[in-house]
């Protein structure tokens, strides 16, 4: 019944994606508050119960959802969710929460000798960067994804990684932040900062040098000279140990473009969320990234399209009038039925508005498969709840 709501779009075949052994990464992305984490967890569970070895990487799960997956601590390591497998005993589900600072620390520790790693980790600028830089979370989500993928290939641990994306200002941040951080750390300015003497007195170098003089002057004035020297020593240390951040970002970006990756864009049937989803779909197309389709959460589903909202509203009106003339039990049941009809009309209207929004999305992006999940009365608290979501995702075909 739910698929009637969004008749214009082709259905998204979730089971075909989960069952495709050539797909190793599913990225769930979309605006904040649309149920990304829940969808990622539901996809992971369903994949595991179809016999795949799945690892779900979540960024910031709500407490009860984390508990549903047996995640009680944020320790940056995948933990097995007990009791999850396919009927034939194959398949497994692991889940983890991203600890962005810890992941960054691991990158440093993995690429520098101990002395240098300590030097970097204790640098005040590094500490600011690793805990609050506006793109660190996105970058580290990608970094962790890359690590998990390498581990999966080397050890054969997982054949499917489902990744949830950070609650960014914009869903596009997930794609842009790594390159931004990379180009920032690799950029001209930071290079000048680490070697202010280089090129001074020669042609263009002199011009840059002059600008730089003003700049450091201004920055020192505002922030204090200490900050600049922290940045300088951080970049110098990091540069010699594991060169180009941009290169690393490029590698992860390439992983996302791989045919073994599949993007699932998630939205709610609301204007802003769908606009965000549309941006993302366009971006994936421009960058030639593999889009599986759109998941629409919290859709008002229709129990009985036989009765239009107009008919229901007219019926309710008639009954209100009749109940004014009737008495006792008859009047009471007429008022009750009028209320039920009004409720039905309200739901039909909401569904019509949602369908209108979804159809507009489909008109602009024809061919993008859509799976719609009806609004449930309660939030998901346990594996059974996630299973229900998984069933609904798959049924939508």
């Amino acid at each position: 019944m739910t698929r009637r709501t969004f008749a214009k779009a082709p259905g998204l075949d979730i089971d075909a994606i989960l069952g495709n052994r050539d797909i190793h990464i599913i990225v769930c992305t979309g605006a904040g508050g649309v149920g990304k984490t829940t969808t990622a967890a539901a996809l992971g569970l369903r994949g595991a119960e179809m016999g795949r070895s799945v690892c779900v990487l979540t960024i910031d799960p709500a407490k009860r959802l984390a508990q549903a997956m047996g995640l009680s601590s944020l320790d940056n390591t995948p933990r097995q969710v007990p009791g999850v497998c396919a009927p034939d005993g194959s398949g497994s589900l692991f889940a983890m929460m991203l600890d962005m600072k810890r992941t960054f620390d691991e990158v440093v520790e993995g690429h520098a000798d101990q002395a240098r790693a300590e030097q970097i980790l204790s640098n005040p600028f590094y500490q600011t960067l690793s805990s609050s830089f506006a793109g660190t979370q996105e970058y580290m989500a990608m970094e962790k994804l890359g690590q998990l993928r390498v581990r999966a290939e080397e050890e054969g641990t997982w054949d499917l990684i489902v990744v949830d994306t950070p609650p960014s200002r914009s869903a596009l941040d997930f794609l842009d932040a790594p390159a931004r951080l990379g180009s920032f750390l690799d950029g001209r300015f930071i290079r000048i900062l680490t070697a202010p003497a280089r090129g001074a007195g020669k042609g263009i170098g002199r011009i840059v040098g002059m600008g730089f003089g003003i700049f450091t002057g201004v920055l020192s004035k505002i922030l204090g000279a200490q900050v600049l020297s922290d940045v300088g020593s951080f970049v110098a240390a990091i540069d010699t140990t594991f060169g180009g951040f941009r290169e690393r970002a490029d590698e992860t970006y390439a992983l996302l473009k791989d045919s073994g990756t599949s993007f699932v864009v998630i939205a709610a049937p609301e204007r802003d969320a769908l606009r965000e989803a549309a941006y993302f779909v366009e971006r994936l197309r421009t960058d030639d990234m593999p889009l599986a389709g759109l998941v629409l959460n919290r859709v008002q589903h229709l129990d009985d399209p036989e009765l239009t909202s107009e008919q229901a509203a007219a019926g309710a009106q008639t009954l209100v009038e009749l109940s004014g003339e009737a008495t006792g039990a008859t009047a009471e049941s007429q008022r009750l039925t009028a209320a039920l009809l009004s409720l039905h009309a309200q739901r039909m209207n909401l569904a019509a508005r949602q369908r209108h929004l979804a159809d507009r999305f489909t008109a602009a992006h024809p061919g993008v498969p859509v799976s719609s999940v009806p609004a449930l009365a309660e939030d998901v608290h346990d594996l059974d709840g996630l299973r229900t979501i998984g069933d609904l995702l798959a049924q939508s075909l």
Binding site: I222, V227, T318
Partner: protein, 343 residues
């Protein structure tokens, strides 16, 4: 910018009881998807009523205000976007960290030209990037600058400033600029600037309002967000419960719907009386199922409402607008806030 003539004598304005006397900076936050920008805009309209002037500020580069008021994308410049009931004005501003840094350099160091040159070199981007704390100080600093701004003849440039702020999860950090820059700068101008910003944000002239829906996760985030604000000594204002739907059934009917004991045969008879007997075998079970779903949802919403009431904060309940949010809808929401004492 010249101040428009007030259409209501100032004595009348002062005489009207105000819900939040002395507050002129309203920070609006909430979980993503709860309608934070819409609520900030409705609040700006309500506070501008009767000849007052308010400024609505956004800081996340989303252009949500322009979309809401159906105007072209906002530049880094104050623009009038709406007229409030009774002749007031709502102005709007999209603050950008880079522009704010240039602004700051100009007003504190008279360095605008140097700043423009630095921007061409990518230096401004660099500066706002290396220090996320700096970014937030610049954004909140701009809001505070507007709050403190006076007209030549003395009155405040704006009667109230409404900041459409980052979501609940980041709000305490965003506002607590003092501790953010403390790691970066222990002394010096930016530190002094942060102190000045903090003096306004943590004062009785500021309130932080949180927008929520009657759903488990947004309510939990609101509760956690309030605890965090209080820990950081930031002034908590009201909880705005958005997109509520009044139950269409009476409590007794809801109870029956919840337990699937609605009188099916009586409803069937009433459907007949309404001329809807054609498909009654399909319609009747569908209506009963919808009623049961509705009852479950109302029960959940009431549980969540109780958790909000336990917070013991001023609470505004706003309806889901059936036609979606447009300019007319904003005025409707503003009227509800006004009826709740916001002026």
């Amino acid at each position: 910018m010249t101040r428009p003539a007030a259409s209501v004598p100032s004595t009348d304005r002062a005489a009207a009881a105000r819900k939040w006397p002395g507050v002129n900076l309203h920070v609006v936050s909430g979980k993503g998807g709860t309608g934070k920008t819409t609520m900030a805009a409705a609040l700006a309209l309500a506070l501008a009523r009767d000849g007052r002037r308010t400024l609505l500020i956004e800081v996340e580069g989303r252009q949500g205000i322009a979309q809401l008021f159906d105007v072209p994308p906002l530049p880094y410049e104050e623009r009038k976007v709406a007229v409030a009931p009774g002749g007031g004005e709502v102005w709007a501003l999209a603050v950008d960290a880079q522009e704010a840094l240039l602004d700051y350099l100009e007003s504190f160091y008279n360095l605008r030209r140097a700043g423009t040159a630095l921007r061409k070199m990518g230096a401004v981007d660099f500066a706002t990037t290396i220090a996320p704390g700096l970014r937030d100080v610049l954004l909140t600093g701009k809001a505070v600058e507007v709050v403190r701004r006076k007209e030549k003849n003395g009155p405040d440039a704006y009667d109230a400033v409404i900041l459409d702020a980052p979501p609940t999860g980041r709000i305490s950090k965003f506002l607590n600029v003092n501790s953010e820059v403390s790691g970066l700068a222990k002394a010096g101008p930016i530190r002094k600037h942060a102190d000045l910003v903090m003096n306004v944000i943590a004062s009785p002239q500021t309130l932080v309002h949180l927008v929520t829906l009657l759903e488990e996760m947004p309510v939990q985030e609101t509760i956690d967000g309030i605890a965090e604000l209080e820990q950081n000594h930031l002034p908590v204002g009201a909880v705005m419960v958005n997109m509520t739907r009044p139950p269409l059934l009476t409590d007794a009917q809801l109870l029956m719907a919840e337990h699937d004991t609605l009188p099916a045969e009586a409803i069937r008879a009433a459907l007949g009386a309404a001329g809807l007997s054609a498909h009654e075998d399909e319609i009747l079970p569908a209506l009963l199922a919808e009623a049961s779903d509705h009852a479950q949802r109302v029960a959940l919403e009431r549980r969540e409402m109780e958790r909000i009431e336990d917070l013991d904060l001023p609470t505004f309940v706003l309806p889901l607008l059936s036609g979606g949010i447009d300019l007319g809808g904003l005025y409707e929401l503003a009227d509800i806030l006004t009826a709740g004492g916001v002026r």
